[in-house]
Symmetry: C2
Subunit: 478 residues, 2 copies
């Protein structure tokens, strides 16, 4: 895609950062909020706020311009009005400052001739000076291990996920969802209009990064479709890409034009893209998160057969339908497993089979653990999904000790030779139940075990996992 190799590492591990356009007060999203977050997160590098009218901001010496700095910093974050941005880039070029993130909006996405001209000019200056530019109109790079987490107020947690996105808001949400469910981020980038660096550049970079196990992408447009397809196909073979493509409908595409200024492309082309590359397609935030949890936390399935440790007769019927609908199987268990179930499952009000409807799995951790272990040994079982009932008012459940900590301890200690996930239903408008459900999902997530809020979402995620490995095999570098 590019003539010279693009050294992206300074974006994600800068030792010095200039923030161009930091108001002294007037807090809102922009230069000052970025500076605050850098300081809050304990960023260990040198920080240079730039403001021609200030001597000091937040206890740091302020400089009138990039030119006035004692060094050319590794990264400049540009937050000034759009019309000034080209001049700032010229200045960067003169100073040999090559890594720039443009937070400012007001370019191609506003749809005016002026906006488009400014964006063209920006790209031209970048070409002239060989600048690496993220943006404009975006949140920029994010790297918890470098304490580069200026996006939002969540504590940055390092982990195996990479994110490449044209939406800051969507990426913030995913980052927060994932963090709360035990899944950290190695590197993320919100790159907005992508006037200079495109999705392909970031994908090439993250493909080579061994700490990143799966890559979530949110894209509205790509500048060179065929090249992106070839690259995505190559990367996805070794490292799963989960792509949330925005703008597939006409209404969505026209909104995308106002959001990041790009042409979202035709649905037919994108269908072909997914079919040819095998990249995992998701169409909602929830599905994106669920697939990320599955790909980052779970080993390859040992087959398409799901052992569903269910909850209640009707749910077991519906769960079986749900997993089958997602292209998986809910097979008969082996003779050996069935013999054990027939011995231990009472006939009345339970169902010894797959799905297994057995109340003891909810209340007795030892029984659930034995069920899991027998599932791991059963050749019919490719993966296991367990319904983890929270005592609802509607149920007549005895008041017993919480079985979950013992189950989590076992899973942590003994490992999971086959993909193992949980379902935690806390649907409805009950705040206490909702809080209990979130805590339980976080408890499992903290142990590296995905816990989905419904069977439908669990099945969708496990379906993605199964299809990926069925196509590409177990060739992931681990």
């Amino acid at each position: 895609m590019s003539p010279a190799p693009k050294d992206m590492s300074k974006f994600f591990n800068p030792e010095s950062v200039a923030i161009v356009g930091v108001p002294r007060t007037d807090y809102r999203f922009g230069g000052l909020s970025y500076l605050n977050r850098f300081q809050d997160s304990g960023f260990p590098g040198r920080l240079y706020p730039i403001n021609p009218k200030a001597d000091e901001i937040n206890g740091l010496k302020a400089y009138p311009s990039l030119t006035a700095l004692p060094e050319a910093p590794d990264l400049a974050i540009v937050c000034v009005a759009a019309r000034i941005v080209p001049a700032i880039l010229e200045e960067c070029g003169r100073l040999g400052l090559r890594h720039i993130h443009i937070l400012s909006s007001g370019f191609g996405e506003v749809g005016t001739p002026e906006g488009r001209a400014l964006e063209d000019r920006l790209a031209e200056v970048a070409r002239e000076h060989d600048l690496l530019v993220i943006g404009p109109n975006c949140m920029g790079p994010y790297s918890p291990s470098a304490r580069l987490t200026a996006w939002g107020a969540i504590p940055g947690m390092p982990g195996p996920l990479g994110i490449i996105s044209q939406s800051g808001g969507i990426t913030q949400r995913l980052t927060e969802y994932a963090w709360r469910l035990g899944l950290g981020v190695d590197k993320a980038v919100s790159f907005g209009n992508g006037a200079v660096l495109s999705a392909s550049d970031f994908l090439e970079y993250m493909a080579e990064d061994d700490r990143i196990r799966a890559i979530c992408m949110y894209l509205e447009s790509v500048p060179d479709g065929p090249a992106f397809l070839r690259l995505a196909a190559r990367v996805n073979r070794d490292k799963p890409i989960i792509l949330f493509k925005g703008g597939l409908s006409e209404a969505g595409a026209s909104t995308a034009a106002s959001h990041t200024g790009g042409l979202a492309g035709r649905v037919g082309l994108w269908s072909a893209f997914f079919a040819q590359t095998g990249v995992t397609q998701v169409t909602s935030m929830d599905e994106w998160l669920d697939a990320a949890l599955a790909f980052c936390f779970l080993p390859p399935p040992a087959g398409k057969g799901v052992f569903v440790v269910g909850g209640g007769g009707g749910n077991s019927v519906a769960y079986a339908d749900t997993f089958v609908r997602e292209g998986l199987a809910v097979p008969r268990l082996s003779e050996k497993t069935m013999a054990w179930l027939k011995e231990t499952v009472p006939a009345a009000g339970n169902i010894a089979g797959n799905p297994l409807d057995m109340w003891q799995t909810f209340m007795d951790p030892a029984y659930l653990i034995e069920t899991l272990e027998r599932g791991y040994q059963d050749p019919a079982v490719g993966m296991i999904v367990v319904d983890r009932l929270i005592p609802r008012m509607a149920f007549h459940m005895p008041d017993l000790p919480d079985p979950n900590p013992a189950v989590v301890e076992h899973l942590k200690k003994n490992g999971r030779p086959k993909p193992t996930a949980f379902m935690v239903d806390s649907e409805g408008g009950d705040p206490e139940l909702a809080a209990a459900g979130a805590s339980l999902r976080a408890l499992y997530g903290g142990a590296g075990v995905p816990a989905f809020p419904s069977a439908a979402r669990a099945a969708r995620a496990m379906g993605h996992l199964y299809r990926y490995y069925a196509r590409f095999g177990r060739n992931r570098t681990e």
Copy 2:
């Protein structure tokens, strides 16, 4: 379907209830738990516990048999072992006690010749004595206005929903979800194996009940498919039926056989059923709930165009795609609405259009209310869906007063001439956020406004609503 009209009303409004098989202690699900719940809920009728070895249970006089009672009660709930049930039915026949709910399991669903023979015998006795029997193997009738809520511990809340279900567990969950989101139940019935009374009998009954506005059904099998199809088609024209069909996969059907003993039928037949009748098909608990909220709370849409009051640029793009994918449209707004938006929406970081991406809608109730009112007047708008952001840590939101109470007040006072729903995202493992999300959904639900937890779920529910009225028009009796 039946020779004589079946008077079902005593099932749901009994003045006297006998519970056959109430242990004195040994609390578990069954006779004693039902008796407890009847007493807890303040059931105003006469309660007769039957136990040949007790004189008194829970402060009530106990009787050795139905025959020993001072009257033939309106309803008998039978909780004894399966093999004794036919004799109890004979006794009911002799006493002229015609309404019976059999909670006991151990019939056709266990799959043994003995089980099937017992169920055949039970049906035979019912025919001989012209008994109306709910069950066996089920939770039975539920009617909050009659304080007949023995299923679970949730307070019964009367409302416009009817439920006809072959799964007690699934129905309990739905009932609790709906209650917590402001949607009460007029009558529900869990009828298990349906050996005597079938789904059709309950459907005929609820069709005539003016207090029931929409009917949720969970079915595994129907004894007479063509007759059920004709009935469902007729009822659904005037009163929406939302059918969650269990056992559409082979694995699900085989589980259904162990659950309620029925033959779940072939997928092809059920696809034809949904196409011919126009009955709304759902395939998950969440979708069932969401459709129930939409059909019970919302008026007919004024068209397929959704005005999406969105949140963030990327989300707006994704939301547009999401609603279009569900068969709806996200149209250009009228000149008049656009003129107002262009006047009030700042260009940078917002999008004046549909979806509308405007931060003020999150924080300023007056602005959101005006947005809604302008949507109601816009001929391009058939319904409105509003993203209701909860301040997440990831966002940089100022600390402002909660705008929701003012919005809810306005909606309650001024009505909603077009279907209006909210989206409340509290996804992730943060207990506080989850609790806030549940509370907010409950706040809107309490005002008769559906609040869905994601755009995907909102779009699915609004799609169901739109398709129903597009096919059957505004002929609902209101």
